[in-house]
């Protein structure tokens, strides 16, 4: 199975051969790997160098490599191909997502409203700070997904806006 991998901005192709060996960009890597914490932490030795790599978060994939944090991604060929296809934009439509988990304190608009760029749409309280979520452009409120008083997860869709002239 071949994976397209990105680590800290560098792109590599990793091929896991049937015999368990790894090839990186076509060359065999003499790596010796010990799993320390199941699915989370590995000790990797490459020619004497000792690296401890921990999966900090899965989505996005962040790794701690010898105490340094790096963003990474690994897609198998199929997933990589479909990801390339999906990157075509849907233009003019914005999903307003919660930038962090918290309590939706107030909703300042109703469906159908047309709001100016920078207008407050909602107020999200998280860890005792209030955060106003603003319209990214002059737009119409197509849909409100949640109402005031709701607890929301980080990344949840809160509203759908459509750019308006």
């Amino acid at each position: 199975m071949i994976y397209e991998v990105s680590v800290g901005g560098r792109r590599l192709q990793v091929d896991v051969a049937a015999d368990g060996r790894f090839l990186i960009d076509g060359a065999v890597v003499a790596a010796e790997i010990a799993e320390i914490a199941r699915g989370r932490q590995w000790s990797v030795r490459i020619g004497g160098r000792s690296h401890e790599v921990t999966v900090l978060t899965h989505d996005p994939l962040r790794l701690l490599v010898d105490g340094r944090e790096a963003e990474a991604s690994a897609l198998d060929e199929r997933a990589a191909a479909s990801a390339r296809g999906a990157s075509a934009a849907r233009g003019g439509r914005h999903e307003l997502r919660a930038p962090m988990p918290g309590l939706l304190k107030a909703v300042h608009v109703t469906e159908g409203d047309v709001v100016e760029r920078g207008a407050p749409i909602m107020t999200l309280e998280a860890m005792k700070m209030e955060n106003e979520l603003l319209a990214p452009a002059r737009s119409r409120v197509v849909r409100l997904a949640v109402s005031a008083g709701t607890k929301v997860e980080g990344g949840a869709v809160l509203a759908v806006l459509e750019e308006s002239e």
């Binding site: 896991v16 105490g67 198998d76």
Partner: protein, 445 residues
């Protein structure tokens, strides 16, 4: 935790309270007694003065220590505790009121001859007054909650255009956090350093701090905060009438146990030393590791601790409530763990801080650790050049973290292993038998 530890060292029985989400927290498990006080929402538990005093009475406590969050600077709480015939570990309610209202504290500092920034000496009546006062002082200004502290209800306002939104948000936050939406405004001092004097300090800033403490009739531990501008001039900022989050720095440098001293003062004992007996030894640096995603503007993060390694060894102190499997929610302050490094001088303290951060692992949710790692190696910080604009100037870093080829290779292999592991788990969970099998085989190849 910090207070329970001090109690146990002094042989004092420690009674804890907890909200529903904190049932399994370390402070509940390590206390001698623990009582539930309601649901996660602070207003119904950790901010419910009546419930807290009732628990203290029921558990036959002698004294109440407010910690350094929630009600630690609430004068009504101090009064309620005293009213129930218990000792409040901290300054009395009237002292807190005198210093807790930031505008009153500014007047007190001015009367004690300590410089303060230009601004209002009483809460603003309305937005109109805020507008006229800000214009008089000249932008940029700071809009602050009169009853506030800890950065809540506080906003820098660069121009008149921003004032409306800032007023709305700050007064809302102030009402929620402190029960009063009163705001005041003062001149923003750019490129200043924020200096906190734990009230135990010496030196010239220390004199000013002691003058304010004496003027206020201060008892117990507290902190006087100043801003020091680029030319070395300073102005009074505020007094925190509680133990400071950064108190371990003072403890490591002076060798004193501030919480134990608070408890002794509360028990009526005199301080066992005078100001002139306090000797400083070396330097200390505290890192506040928070559940905030440093790479996305420090937005609060939640998750379950999956791998945890706290640093240890020479010159490293950890104050933490973390454990493997702990679920970090968005209900409370994002502080996870304090890592404090101590050395014979700032150079050694920095080296130990770097080493400690390199050892630390908190997997399962985004944290501030990448920020600490970056700052400890950043030339300006290492050279001692930093002010209140430091973070905005130096974060996020311009270049991604430097990994060498060997580290990139190791990370790439783990990225693949992690992706395969996740794939297996997802497919096995699917109800379709055939897919499940195929997924497993593929992942095992």
């Amino acid at each position: 935790m910090r207070v329970i530890r001090a109690c146990h060292e002094l042989g004092i029985r420690a009674v804890a309270v907890y909200s529903d989400v904190d049932r399994g927290a370390l402070h509940v498990r390590l206390a001698d007694e623990a009582y539930p006080i309601g649901p996660a929402a602070p207003r119904e538990s950790y901010l419910a003065i009546g419930k807290l005093v009732e628990v203290a009475r029921r558990a036959r406590c002698d004294a109440v220590h407010p910690g350094y969050g929630f009600l630690s600077e609430n004068a009504d709480f101090a009064d309620a505790v005293r009213g129930a015939g218990l000792v409040f570990v901290g300054p009395p309610g009237e002292v807190q009121r005198r210093l807790g209202d930031k505008t009153q504290a500014r007047r007190l500092a001015r009367d004690a001859g300590v410089p303060i920034a230009d601004g209002t000496l009483a809460p603003l009546r309305d937005l109109a007054e805020a507008r006229s006062e800000s214009k008089r002082i000249g932008y940029p200004v700071m809009l602050k909650a009169a009853a506030g502290g800890g950065g809540k209800g506080m906003r820098a306002v660069a121009s008149a255009a921003e004032l409306d939104a800032a007023w709305r948000l700050s007064s809302g936050e102030a009402a929620g956090a402190f029960g009063s939406e009163a705001l005041f405004v003062e001149k923003l001092i750019e490129h200043a350093r924020h200096v906190e004097m734990q009230i135990l300090a010496d030196g010239s800033l220390g004199d000013a701090a002691l003058r304010i403490a004496r003027a206020a009739g201060y008892v117990s531990a507290g902190t006087v905060e100043f801003l020091v501008d680029e030319r070395g001039g300073f102005s009074f900022l505020e007094v925190n009438t509680r133990l400071q989050v950064e108190h371990p720095v003072t403890e490591l440098v002076t060798g004193l146990d501030l919480v134990a001293l608070q408890l002794r003062i509360a028990a009526g004992e005199p301080l066992p030393f005078a100001q002139s007996d306090v000797r400083r030894r070396g330097a200390a640096i505290e890192m506040r590791v928070t559940a905030e995603d440093a790479r996305r503007g420090f937005v609060p993060a939640t998750g379950r601790i999956a791998v945890l390694r706290e640093p240890a060894g020479p010159g490293v102190r950890v104050d933490s409530g973390l454990f493997d499997g702990l679920v970090v929610t968005s209900d409370y302050d994002p502080l996870l763990m304090k890592v404090i490094a101590h050395g014979v001088d700032r150079t050694e303290a920095l080296a130990r801080a770097r080493r400690a951060v390199r050892e630390t692992i908190v997997a399962g949710l985004p944290t501030s650790l990448a920020f600490h790692a970056h700052v400890l190696d950043e030339p300006d910080f290492v050279a001692g050049r930093y002010d209140t604009a430091y973070v905005a100037m130096h974060w996020p870093p311009r270049a991604p973290v430097e990994l060498d080829d060997s580290q990139i290779t190791a990370a790439a292999l783990v990225a693949v292993l992690a992706a395969r592991g996740r794939a297996t788990r997802r497919l096995v969970a699917s109800p379709d038998g055939a897919w499940s099998r195929a997924g497993r085989e593929e992942a095992l190849r």
